[in-house]
């Protein structure tokens, strides 16, 4: 089965390649529609540039070449996974991205786990205890959370838990300047991770709670739940063994789709919490017209989305035998 899954994922990823290439091509030209180039931004920041200085920068960045040559060069380099060079940062784009990837991965991973975990639990409780006080509280909470802007949630958490209670740091990825053992360093990162991860997962948790509740209510109304009750099983056994797994499938589907959206959300959260991740890098790259870097990040994101969807599909097959045993083709 593992082999089948690996083959399946590989297959999915291969299918993703043309999509990724299309995204790259579209992005390349789309990005260049934005007015202003990196030289102007740099010159603007310096506040006192001369014409020689501008020419020098443009030549160095390759901005003096015609667009189609820039494009051919880019694609040629992409074929050997060379994402180019960020002149602004004076680094290769690959190294910049790799450096930031970890932080974003940790943030997104934690947020996914939190939002799916809590969403599933809360949604399930709301459905099982339908029309009780508890379920009303959860439902209202989910609606409010769903409607609250991400950055606002982030700031409120900072004010309450970092400023007033002082439990967590206001921002950052680790305690700077501290020399810690690897275990203490891990704890330190976790300590910094708590608020941003909660903020980012808030909206999605609400989404999954609502979805899970609806799905669970539907599942609890299914005939096989009645069969389970007719067997004389206890309520908790019915929920755990029969309802939960069935109800979770739509949530998984949604989670797969939401990965790319969450990447967008992480831009906001990373900037609010000074979390040194990809989102923040992309945000800066956009405003400094560091187009190669932006393209590199988009390229990576599209790969990430394709891979995540493949992974979600695998999880799917683990949860739902109908997909696994038919090799992804049912009926």
């Amino acid at each position: 089965m593992l082999f089948t899954n690996a083959k399946y994922v590989l297959n999915r990823i291969l299918h993703g390649i043309p999509i990724i290439l299309a995204i790259v091509v579209v992005n390349f030209f789309l990005i260049r529609l934005a007015p202003g180039d990196a030289a102007q931004v740099l010159a603007g920041e310096s506040g006192a540039a001369t014409a020689e200085y501008m020419d020098q920068i443009r030549k160095q960045f390759g901005l003096d070449q015609p667009l189609w040559i820039q494009f051919l060069n880019y694609m040629k380099n992409l074929l050997v996974f060379d994402l180019g060079y960020s002149f602004r940062h004076g680094r290769t784009i690959a190294s910049l991205i790799i450096e930031r990837l970890g932080a974003t991965a940790i943030l997104m991973g934690a947020s996914m786990v939190l939002s799916i975990g809590l969403g599933v639990i809360l949604g399930a409780i709301a459905a099982v205890r339908d029309r009780t006080f508890l379920s009303h509280v959860i439902v209202i909470l989910a609606i409010v959370t769903y409607a609250t802007p991400l950055f606002w949630v982030g700031l409120m958490l900072i004010i309450v838990f970092a400023l007033n209670l002082g439990w967590f740091p206001t921002s950052g990825y680790e305690t700077i300047g501290a020399t810690l053992t690897s275990f203490d360093h891990m704890l330190d990162v976790l300590h910094h991770l708590v608020l941003p991860a909660i903020s980012l997962s808030f909206f999605y948790m609400a989404l999954y709670t609502r979805l899970m509740r609806a799905s669970m209510l539907e599942t609890l109304g299914q005939d096989y739940i009645k069969t389970a009750r007719a067997k004389g099983l206890s309520g908790s056994r019915i929920v755990m063994a029969h309802a939960l797994r069935n109800a979770i499938i739509p949530v998984l589907t949604m989670a797969g789709v939401q990965v790319s959206a969450m990447l967008g959300g992480s831009v906001i959260i990373e900037s609010v919490f000074g979390w040194p991740g990809l989102g923040l890098l992309a945000y800066e790259a956009l405003f400094s017209r560091d187009l190669n870097l932006l393209l590199g990040i988009f390229f990576l994101s599209s790969i990430l989305v394709v891979v995540t969807n493949a992974v979600v599909d695998v999880i799917y097959t683990l949860v739902d035998p109908r997909i696994r045993l038919n090799g992804g083709r049912h009926e």
């Binding site: 038919n326 083709r329 049912h330 009926e331």
Partner: protein, 321 residues
């Protein structure tokens, strides 16, 4: 049976669906005639292709190959436009009347549609025609202004029937029209269909899995199994002497509401499940469940052969005897 020209002649009709799992042999080389004013019952179990056949012959589905001669004209591959004049003559009533009626339109709007689509009559005339239709299917005139969800299942099915007969079609395909209804309502709809046919003279292709219902309405009955017709005969002939083992089993499986003391003693219960229409058995498709299967059955596909009394059977047991 009166000797007239058939209104529909189906010749070597094939309809395959390509699905992810493979090619479904829904309708596999079928020949069939439908005569004016008759009711042809189409019976079979799920997956036998009876619904697909019903829909294909009125061109709701595009046939894969073969001919559909409507009054001598082959309509099997006509374009949408060329098909338009024929359309009004070929109507259908579905199993689930709720799904087939637009929930946002009143009964009047639903029933006016066939007239406006085919440009029949003025607005005032149409309104009059709708009133007539409603009366014809046995509903009170006030129903015209109601929405489908305000009607019971039986009433909705009456509206669906009214829509089908609005333009006085020559052929109506009734696709399981009473399966979703309660016994008492089922009787009402069956009676209504019978009466409308007597009034209008339309030919019915009546599709059902329930032999009792089919037997009640049909003049001739075609029995389908896995995309093929295995037996076709006038009702009385079929009832008196079912020849195909599958037909025999179907008849045997009908539970008749009569005192146990009067009931038939011999009951044939055929074993096993219906094979997949994606990969039907070789030779005779019924052989895997047939109590009389012989070696030849797996090698050769039996042809539908005339056996007298206007009956045709496709079975080596009968044909080669």
């Amino acid at each position: 049976m009166t000797v007239t020209e058939p209104i529909l002649q189906i010749r070597d009709l094939v309809k395959y669906h390509d699905t992810k799992g493979g090619r479904v042999h829904a309708v596999d080389h079928i020949d069939l005639d439908l005569f004016p004013g008759e009711t042809l019952g189409l019976v079979g179990e799920s997956g036998c292709g009876k619904s697909t056949l019903g829909r294909t012959i009125i061109r709701l589905h595009e046939p894969t190959s073969g001919q559909i001669l409507y009054r001598g004209q082959d309509i099997a591959h006509l374009s949408r436009n060329d098909l338009r004049p024929v359309r009004r003559d070929l109507q259908i009533v579905f199993q689930d009347p709720f799904a087939s009626l637009n929930p946002r339109r009143t009964v009047r709007q639903i029933l006016s549609e066939p007239f406006s689509v085919h440009g029949v009559g003025t607005k005032a005339e149409r309104s009059e025609q709708v009133n007539d239709l409603i009366a014809q299917v046995g509903l009170h005139p006030s129903f015209a202004e109601r929405f489908p969800h305000e009607l019971s299942g039986g009433q909705r099915q009456r509206i669906a029937i009214a829509r089908a007969i609005a333009l006085e079609p020559s052929t109506v395909v009734c696709d399981e029209p009473v399966s979703a209804l309660d016994v008492s309502v089922q009787a009402q709809i069956i009676n209504l269909l019978g009466q409308l046919q007597a009034d209008m003279g339309a030919a019915y292709v009546f599709i059902s899995h329930d032999l009792s219902v089919i037997g009640y309405l049909a003049d001739r009955i075609a029995v389908m199994y896995l995309g093929e017709i295995v037996e076709i005969a006038p009702k009385w002939a079929l009832w008196r002497r079912p020849l195909h083992p599958y037909t025999q089993a179907l008849f045997s499986a009908i539970a008749i509401p009569e005192p146990p003391s009067k009931a038939r003693k011999h009951r044939i219960i055929i074993q096993g499940d219906i094979p997949s229409p994606i990969d039907p058995p070789s030779g005779c498709r019924f052989r895997t469940r047939c109590p009389h299967a012989m070696p030849i059955c797996s090698e050769k596909s039996p042809k539908l052969t005339e056996v007298g009394d206007g009956a045709k059977v496709a079975c080596h047991l009968v044909n080669d005897a």
